[in-house]
């Protein structure tokens, strides 16, 4: 998309990581464990989404297909085939990546609103498919009573706290890997493509390949979040594949500040908590989501982290030294 902070620079990145990890460790003491696990899962999903939106400049409106798709794969493997944690999660992640490879193959050549519409349509197709294959997916009922899988040998994940810290550890590792990716030469090329694709092409980069790889990585990490979701909740349903879910991850990312990976880590809990509070006022989740969307897009486009970083910067800079051309 357009103007954004040019990535969280070195020092603030270090601080933000420490804050994020500390917040993650403290979270179960502040909110109840189920919400804490949800926050980590959605933060991971939103960070994965930001890799695509903030760095490659591609707005996918169908990311629910990777999240929900992986939740079904992991859920089925655990429920029907009694797989343990690691192989089930790995297979779910691989299948999300594979799905992204197929979808990416046909859609990556288009950009902007076209890419958004195409991914939305494919997402909806997966929703219809899951609904239609009722024998496998349980149709409208979804997958119920998915047992917590064994982690290693006889160690099970029935304790919510154990699962929480495992989820947190996996999220930290996945996000560290994504940060490594966006700060690598590969990430720089992605940034160049986002700013000016024609120029990147004329410099000799095969831009579609870069975007394709970013799409697959983003989908794989979204798949990890989806697999953790079904394990944490012990069920999954068509809601995880619904386009509202795709919309939710978009708004968490924009709310947090896209193009930072860190922003969504704060945008996700912020959204989940507002949603949690507002849901007590009204029974319709779409009304809440829609109003948040309109407000954020109209007046709050820089997101929370963006605003805070900018305020800090302003505090550091003496008024006289402030650069003239501030956006």
């Amino acid at each position: 998309m357009i103007a954004r902070v040019a990535g969280a620079p070195g020092r603030s990145a270090l601080w933000l990581s420490l804050i994020a990890i500390a917040a993650g460790l403290l979270l179960p003491h502040v909110v109840f464990i189920g919400l804490a696990t949800d926050i980590v899962i959605w933060a991971l999903f939103a960070a994965a989404f930001d890799l695509l939106l903030g760095y490659a400049g591609l707005l996918s409106f169908g990311h629910a297909m990777f999240f929900g798709g992986a939740s079904y794969v992991a859920g089925l493997l655990i429920l029907r085939s009694h797989w343990s944690f690691i192989p089930a999660v790995l297979t779910a992640v691989a299948s999300a990546a594979l799905l992204a490879a197929v979808v990416g193959l046909v859609s990556i050549r288009r950009q902007g609103i076209y890419f958004a519409m195409i991914t939305l349509a494919f997402g909806q197709m997966m929703y219809f498919l899951a609904n239609q294959l009722g024998d496998l997916t349980g149709g409208q009922d979804g997958l119920q009573n998915v047992p917590r899988p064994a982690l290693l040998g006889s160690i099970r994940l029935d304790d919510d706290r154990v699962l929480y810290y495992l989820t947190l550890a996996l999220a930290v590792i996945a996000i560290a890997c994504m940060l490594r990716v966006v700060n690598s030469p590969f990430g720089r090329v992605l940034g160049a493509i986002r700013e000016n694709e024609q120029r990147a092409t004329s410099l000799g980069y095969r831009t579609n390949v870069y975007k394709f790889v970013a799409f697959v990585i983003s989908a794989a990490v979204s798949g990890l979040a989806g697999a953790l979701f079904v394990i944490a909740h012990r069920f999954t349903s068509l809601d995880t594949l619904d386009w509202h879910t795709s919309g939710e991850v978009v708004i968490m990312t924009v709310l947090g500040d896209m193009g930072t990976i860190f922003g969504p880590l704060f945008g996700a809990p912020f959204y989940l908590i507002i949603n949690d509070k507002l849901s007590t006022l009204t029974t319709s989740p779409g009304l809440v989501l829609g109003i948040i969307f309109i407000i954020v897009v109209s007046v709050f486009r820089r997101g929370i982290v963006g605003e805070v970083l900018r305020m800090l910067q302003r505090l550091k800079t003496e008024p006289a030294q402030r650069p003239l051309a501030q956006h």
């Binding site: 050549r109 076209y114 939305l120 909806q124 498919l129 386009w243 009204t282 829609g290 486009r301």
Partner: protein
């Protein structure tokens, strides 16, 4: 397969095509002028249907009046949204307006759900249009033929208006180069608002036409909008004519596909979209990449 059955399915396809054509035509006009994709288009379609239903219920407004008045009302609402919300984001990346109208769509749909629930209510076919007509190979409901006729007629009029009239010339000029058009003394800002209002009025018209053939529900808009986006991708958002033709073509292909292999009915349009993207990435009637990415 019997010929009459096949003919029946082709007519059914034309009816779905009639809705797709009106919806994608509206999207194309708005896109042409403003370079934005109106996600709330489905919600406007739903409001059109509700407008007809509510007007009939409370003031006994006949169908033919609803056909004119509901789109006018929804068009006015659209212009209000354009002036108050969409306009503010026009200078930014068009994706922001996609997100904004997505939010609008959610709010409108759930707002209607608060009042009308999710079940939906039937809207009677006008008495003069009930019954069947014998077409030789097959019988077909009169009302559905009227839907095809009205949609075709409106699409034709809009196409001619844009291609052949002075007003259309102004719109095309403003599409090509807004600032130069403004310099010629044409109020581009007003024109933009009117075009947006007209585009959503077309969606509302499709909604009114659809109302008697189905239950009027708050979710009817979100059900059709994603399919319409697929239609738009198949056609490419380059041309007015293309969006109309694609609407009808996709309607027929989807209906025939569902005959050949029923389980595929829901997903066929999306598969068709994938196929087109592989063979012709810019769509059937799409302009080059530079025109509409």
């Amino acid at each position: 397969m019997e010929l009459s059955y096949l003919a029946l399915q082709i007519f059914n396809g034309l009816v779905s095509g009639a809705y797709y054509a009106l919806l994608s035509l509206g999207l194309a006009i708005i896109f042409g002028m403003m370079r934005i994709v109106n996600f709330a288009h489905g919600a406007m379609y739903m409001l059109g249907a509700f407008g007809a239903y509510l007007a009939a219920k409370y003031v006994g407004l006949p169908f033919w009046w609803a056909l004119v008045l509901a789109p006018l009302a929804v068009g006015a609402l659209g212009m209000l949204f354009e002036r108050s919300l969409i306009r503010r984001l026009m200078r930014l990346d068009p994706l922001y307006n996609l997100l904004l109208t997505f939010g609008l769509a959610l709010v409108i749909e759930d707002f209607m759900k608060l009042f009308f629930g999710t079940q939906g209510t039937p809207y009677a076919i006008p008495a003069s249009l009930t019954g069947m007509v014998n077409l030789g190979i097959t019988g077909y409901p009169v009302y559905r033929l009227v839907v095809i006729a009205i949609s075709t007629l409106v699409c034709l009029i809009v196409w001619i208006a844009i291609e052949k009239t002075p007003l259309g010339a102004k719109i095309r000029a403003a599409t090509e180069n807004p600032s130069l058009t403004q310099a010629f003394g044409i109020d581009v800002s007003l024109l933009t608002t009117l075009v947006f209002g007209f585009g959503v009025a077309l969606a509302a018209l499709a909604g009114v036409l659809n109302a008697p053939t189905t239950n009027v529900t708050p979710s009817m808009g979100s059900d059709i909008i994603i399919t319409t986006f697929a239609v738009v991708v198949i056609g490419g958002m380059g041309s007015i004519k293309g969006s109309i033709l694609t609407g009808f073509i996709v309607g027929i292909v989807a209906a025939l596909g569902a005959v050949l292999y029923p389980p595929i009915a829901n997903t066929l349009i999306f598969l068709l979209m994938a196929l087109i993207l592989l063979v012709r990435p810019s769509g059937l009637f799409g302009a080059t990449e530079s025109g509409a990415r």
